[in-house]
Subunit: 274 residues, 2 copies
């Protein structure tokens, strides 16, 4: 499928876009990104995604070379050109081309359309297993490009027949590699609020949940998993995905929980009407 | 100046080399590198640099798609094509192009010639100032591309009229942003041995120093700076560069020390005969 991207002012087929070898994202890992999808041809939660992207950029001291309205027009042009009902959109901004491989001059900004890789239905039906890792992301609140850790854990995840990794540090749970974490204890919905990237789907789900549950942001310890009734993870591609096993520990009765299913249904209703 | 690079099997002018947008170095910060220079047209400490590059790759679970002899031939061809007496050479290897922006398939390997940016002579004559930062690099022993921290500190370094940053964690000194750290207490030469990248210039200088000084690898605490007579940093471009101020603290008498100068002379003699 032919996808398009915007790179420093021009829209081109993605295959024709490339970063030169002095880019600081490439040479020094100095980059940030964001990622969202469209529903019914419109970007989901655009205001929140843009706000987060702009915040990440500010925390990395990079000026965004495009304003919100221009960025929206680019996204809509990518939607039109893709000839798909819906696409994923990735923003990638790096420190740009550097004369000495360390100094920032002008950032490089890429906005590209991507095919959506939907989560397999079986994962919603059965729930997923995650492994544990003692780790906390550097600058977790910034959506930097630093995902070395999960790529290094790929083999460990496969060996455990798991789908992802749940990070904890000294027993305090933060997040999965690319998604947020929630537990239910009865009708209390609890989610970590530090050392995390504040997900847009997390925020959406917290809004949806507040009518029916007590929503709490705070510390979630490994020990909280023992009496959790349900657990799930949220992201733009996973939506609300049940977690039924963490390492060797089975959550609740080992099946996706009914409250999790209720939130997934609410979420699906929201995006159906987006 | 026209420089050349080798990218996945081909040698081209550097301007014609580019990374596609699904590269994991770019999207996920999943990359490693190495960097050395030639003296008299021959790569300095080639065996040690190759060994370190191969070790970094192994620790990032990436197979090196070229063997040592082939890599040496590439380096020598870049030397010839550059028509310079001496060049710097940068190896960059990333997780390669990914079908789903997270899975590694085949790494991308770039080997490129760069102009040498020599350290200004005034820095050798006057010594440099560094600021302190509480930080330890993730996977410090691997030469990954993760240098976000020092790029974020660029403004702080400039404001302090300093040249670089010295990392410490809970009072234990590790390294500068891109170079190693040494102190002299009398004729004892001491350098940190953990949470560091094991520099090739560091290793070379430790060899050179052992005839005239007691060389110790071990913990160096901030408190050790108070009675240090001299301090310096080592790297392939800095060689042996005196440090005369760390934050607000003046080292020794605030001038480059005579033992540091002795080691710089020894190093210059070694490279003169390389």
């Amino acid at each position: 499928m032919l996808m398009y991207g915007y790179f420093n002012g021009s829209i081109l087929p993605v295959e024709q876009i490339a970063f030169g070898v002095t880019d600081l994202g490439l040479l020094r890992g100095f980059g940030l990104f964001d990622y969202f999808r469209t529903y019914n041809g419109r970007p989901f939660q655009w205001d929140w995604y843009w706000e987060r992207f702009a915040n990440s950029a500010a925390k990395m001291h990079l000026p965004v070379p495009i304003n919100k309205e221009e960025a929206y027009r680019v996204v809509m042009e990518l939607v039109t050109k893709s000839r798909q009902p819906d696409i994923a959109v990735r923003f990638v901004m790096t420190g740009g081309y550097s004369p000495d491989s360390i100094s920032v001059v002008n950032p490089n900004l890429l906005i590209m359309a991507e095919e959506i890789h939907p989560t397999p239905p079986s994962q919603y039906e059965e729930g997923i297993k995650v492994i544990l890792d003692e780790y906390v992301r550097e600058m977790a609140e910034v959506k930097s490009t630093d995902y070395k850790r999960v790529i290094l854990l790929a083999q460990a995840i496969r060996s455990a027949r798991a789908s992802d990794v749940l990070y904890q540090k000294k027993g305090e749970i933060s997040e999965l590699s690319r998604s947020n974490f929630f537990i239910f204890k009865g009708d209390r919905l609890i989610t970590p609020n530090r050392h995390i990237l504040h997900g847009i789907t997390r925020r959406t789900v917290m809004h949806l949940a507040q009518n029916d549950f007590t929503v709490e942001e705070g510390r979630v310890m490994l020990s909280d998993l023992y009496d959790a009734d349900e657990a799930f993870t949220t992201s733009s591609t996973k939506k609300v995905l049940p977690i039924v096993q963490v390492g060797d520990l089975t959550i609740g009765d080992g099946k996706p929980g009914k409250r999790t299913q209720f939130l997934l249904d609410q979420f699906n209703e929201l995006i159906g009407n987006w």
